[in-house]
């Protein structure tokens, strides 16, 4: 799925990273716990979260993720946007709840690709 399709499906406002909107992503994950993102994410390119602090961007960058979607109308700070620009990460925000946003993306073909989580 192209990143611009995510923006459309979630009716999201783009905050930075316009140049990457045509890039393809293949799977996503949703969490407010960066500990779990660091421990469980494999190749998911998109992070859906309601957490706001700079560690969200650094975590995404460490995991080579390319797009972060902030849900529940949460807006990242200017510092976070600058950090994302420096890391080449697309940021957008949506009014949807996390569950709803994930449902839209999942049914449109963006899967979780989680593999096995336990053990």
């Amino acid at each position: 799925m192209k990143i611009c399709e995510i923006q459309k499906l979630l009716n999201a406002t783009l905050l930075c990273g316009e140049e990457a909107l045509e890039h393809d992503v293949f799977s996503a994950c949703c969490s407010d716990m960066m500990s779990d993102v660091l421990a469980y994410v494999k190749d998911q390119g998109v992070l859906i979260t309601g957490l706001i602090n700079p560690q969200v961007i650094r975590t995404a960058s460490m995991m080579d993720m390319v797009c972060v979607v902030f849900v529940r109308s949460k807006a990242p700070t200017e510092e976070m946007i600058e950090l994302a620009e420096a890391c080449g990460i697309v940021l957008m925000k949506s009014d949807m709840r996390a569950y709803e946003a994930c449902g839209h993306l999942y049914t449109s073909g963006l899967r979780g690709n989680a593999g096995k989580i336990h053990g």
Binding site: M34, S35, L38, M62
Partner: protein, 141 residues
Amino acid sequence: MGEVLKFHFDVDGENFSSAGEASVVVKKKLRQLGFSPDIMRRVSIAMYEGEINMVIHADGGTADVTVDDNEITIVLKDRGPGIPDVSLAMQEGYSTACDNIRSLGFGAGMGLPNMKKYTDFMQIDSEVGVGTTVTMKIKLN
């Protein structure tokens, strides 16, 4: 390469917002040096988890990264409270983090096991009241 590269960072324990800055710099350096995405990712996740630990559990400290022909070594040293039971701390899900830290997105007790998973060698030297030194190595080739 032949030569040995060394990077040194002071990790500010007062500032949660800036935690992880050293790991971001190291990842960028490794990219410039032409390391594979796999090596870059393993080094940066392990170092980032360790850096966050130094900020949320100790009062910050220092991070030293050495790159030679055979391996990348990360040494994280703090003068925090120390870890009373290292094998307990290494268990998945064990955390002493308070709700305040959880609300920042950390404190699931996954960091130390994750650091072990992503590195080829990990050693924790810790003394209560003195501090903790975590040494990790990632083999090249």
